[in-house]
């Protein structure tokens, strides 16, 4: 019965593709074969060969499932772990899941490759000493823009205080990141719980809104490359992809600093295959494996030893690896607890005004 599980070896594509095979597995997939592992992650957020190599070297079959949104993943786990062994939450979500007692504390003695983690990432505010996660990749939000139209941009002011570009700019549709950037621009913490500061950021965004074409979810880079807009607050990875196709586009993290995200690999409570999960976490942090993933997805790795295997162009690219100076001024989001209600109310007002 083993072959009806999804496996990532290319050889058995014919076997797994049949509807009949899936029909057989209709009763639920988890029971077959002792050596299996259920990974829950974004699509295309892993190397092309990673899962196949893992299966080859350990004999463990990987079932790789996808989520589209961290919040939805969390909402699902709130009703109980549906059977996953490895998940990939980001900073503030890690903090939330730790507080909600959803994650296993990691036994570092079972993760020899933990030593490869870049010391800069070893003690994040959201999970001191990385008790519950191994940092996976990190990135930032920043400004993507058209050089021929804007020259050199180095401040968030280009977005918040630039009526000349009215109708030629857009922002992400992610409330915490947008509010966080507005707070940083005003000189506050991106994780403030002070209502006055939150309201100040709200007022700034309401004032900025009239110059924006929209708050766009994951399509700002498309608007940029097609010429609909010239400046957008976006994820670095998205801007990077359009930079490859259009030399006139570039990415900058403004001097005020920005909100960065750090994804970590974690084991959720109730994981059915904990031993295999440890093997997987350790395998991923093998420098060569990690470098292979980084070279596929072009995000910044947290693995110091992997850097020697990473494409030098990527290492030199400011849209992937930001300078230490910029990173020092940046913040990761943390769980703001009850104050999330204030953020929600502010965001509703921004949208409705």
């Amino acid at each position: 019965m083993r072959q009806i599980k999804t496996s990532y070896t290319r050889r058995n594509f014919l076997r797994t593709s049949g509807v009949a095979a899936v029909a057989l597995s209709f009763g639920g997939n988890s029971a077959f074969g002792a050596e299996s592992l259920n990974v829950y992650n974004w699509d295309t957020y892993i190397g092309d060969r990673t899962l196949a190599d893992f299966s080859e070297s350990t004999g463990i079959e990987v079932q790789y499932d996808l989520y589209a949104n961290l919040e939805e993943m969390f909402a699902k786990f709130q009703a109980g772990n549906p059977g996953y062994d490895v998940i990939v939450p980001s900073d503030y979500m890690l903090e939330t899941m730790i507080a909600a007692d959803m994650l296993e504390e990691l036994d570092k003695s079972r993760l020899p490759n933990f030593k490869h983690v870049d010391p800069n990432f070893l003690n994040p505010s959201f999970d001191p000493d990385c008790k519950y996660n191994i940092p996976y990749f990190w990135g930032s939000v920043g400004l993507g823009y058209r050089k021929s139209k804007l020259g050199n941009v180095d401040s968030w002011g280009a977005l918040f205080d630039n009526p000349d570009m009215a109708g030629r700019m857009a922002m992400l549709a992610d409330s915490r990141f947008v509010m966080g950037v507005a707070l940083l621009y005003l000189g506050f913490s991106a994780n403030t719980t002070n209502p006055d500061e939150i309201n100040a950021a709200r007022d700034l965004l309401i004032a900025t809104k009239k110059n924006l074409k929209g708050f766009v979810p994951d399509s700002g880079q498309d608007m940029l490359i097609s010429g609909d807009i010239d400046l957008v607050m976006e994820w670095n990875g998205d801007i990077l992809k359009v930079m490859e196709e259009d030399d006139d586009l570039t990415y900058v993290i403004p001097k005020e600093g920005t909100v960065i995200w750090i994804d970590g690999l974690s084991i959720p409570k109730g994981a059915p295959n904990i031993d295999n999960a440890y093997k997987f976490l350790n395998f991923i942090h093998e420098p060569k494996v990690k470098a292979e993933i980084a070279n596929t997805i072009h995000y910044a790795t947290t693995n110091a030893s992997a850097k020697e295997f990473i494409n030098p162009d990527d290492l030199a690219n400011p849209a992937i690896y930001a300078s230490d100076e910029v990173v020092a001024k940046s913040q990761a989001l943390s769980d703001v607890g009850d104050s999330l209600k204030l953020y929600d109310a502010a965001w509703t007002e921004i949208q409705a005004s």
Binding site: N69, E71, E72, F74, A75, Q78, T96, A99, A100, A173, D174, S175, R176, K209, K210, L212, K213, G214, F215, V216, P217, S219, D222, M223, S226, G227, D228, D335, G337, D338, L340, K341, Y343, D344, W347, T348, E349, Q351, A352, S353
Partner: protein
């Protein structure tokens, strides 16, 4: 209508299986959400069971009512346009030769078997400032200019100005019409098909024009389908969140977005449930009124 007592066996055979399914797999889960709507939100978004009405009080704050009102308006406009486009289509299919009916029906539904997200992205490619629609318009514009240039008139239409369609309320309405068209067309088609055509014949024979026949005979006869179709399109448009998210501008947020956010980034399930139930109570009343009204009407007509 027949009293259920006259034919208890048929009544139970027909109504029990679907009722049981809906009771177990819909009403029970919903009851959980109803309980949640009176709960408190824990610091990480946990549910802390309680009995308070704070969530409902918050739900009827002006800003939320404003969003609900905007959603009703948007959905109403979208439904009206959907009807204007969908009714002729339904009629065309219903009156088509029999061998064409099913192929036409399939042609209506086929675009909807591609993923909604992909379709919406395709609309973005069509509507954007430098999208297909504007390219098409520019081409026509240039041809007209070139045509007049033959007569020595230069620049009759002036410089081409691209339409700014995307990221606006109009784009949301276009998107909604597109997404919910089949939900309006199919019920109307189902009633129009096999509509007793002798009534229409009689009307035409007695000298009424096609428009008059349409308004005084076809519409009333197809009314159950029209009402069902419009209700489906309206209700679905009102609860949508993907379309305003992707096609809307900076002020296109609808009630669906607000609710979806409570269950995701704001992690406030109790408030999200309260908003959802507010929407439910509202629709429940509309459906109830409609049921009692059709109950009264259905007696003596036939």
């Amino acid at each position: 209508m027949e009293n259920w007592r006259n034919n208890k066996i048929a009544f139970f055979i027909l109504s029990m299986p679907p009722t049981a399914w809906l009771m177990i797999f819909f009403t029970l889960p919903l009851a959980i959400m109803w309980v949640y709507s009176f709960a408190d939100r824990g610091p990480q978004g946990q549910i802390e069971l309680a009995i308070n009405f704070d969530n409902y009080i918050r739900a009827v704050e002006w800003i939320h009512l404003g969003i609900i009102w905007k959603s009703i308006w948007t959905a109403a406009i979208a439904t009206a346009i959907t009807f204007a486009i969908g009714f002729p289509l339904a009629m065309g299919i219903a009156f088509a030769p029999p061998q064409w009916k099913n192929p036409l029906l399939l042609m209506v539904i086929l675009p909807f078997w591609t993923n909604l997200l992909i379709r919406t992205y395709a609309w973005i490619a069509v509507l954007r400032t430098r999208g297909f629609l504007n390219f098409g318009l520019e081409w026509v514009h240039d041809k007209i200019n070139a045509f007049f240039a033959l007569f020595g008139l230069t620049d009759v239409l002036g410089q081409f100005e691209a339409l700014e369609l995307l990221y606006s309320h109009n784009a949301v309405v276009i998107g909604l019409v597109y997404v919910y068209l089949p939900f309006l067309v199919l019920p109307i088609y189902a009633t129009l098909e096999k509509l007793d055509k002798s009534y229409l014949e009689a009307s035409l024979d007695l000298g009424a024009g096609h428009w008059r026949t349409l308004f005084s005979i076809t519409f009333p006869l197809a009314l159950p389908g029209i009402i069902s179709g419009c209700l489906l399109a309206f209700i679905l448009s009102m609860g949508t969140f993907l379309t305003p998210d992707l096609l809307g501008g900076t002020d296109s947020e609808m009630i669906g977005n607000l609710i979806a956010r409570q269950f995701t980034s704001s992690r406030d399930w109790p408030f999200g449930s309260a908003l959802s139930f507010l929407l439910l109570y509202f629709t429940f009343i509309v459906l109830w009124v409609r049921a009692t009204m059709s109950d009264r009407n259905s007696g003596p007509v036939k």
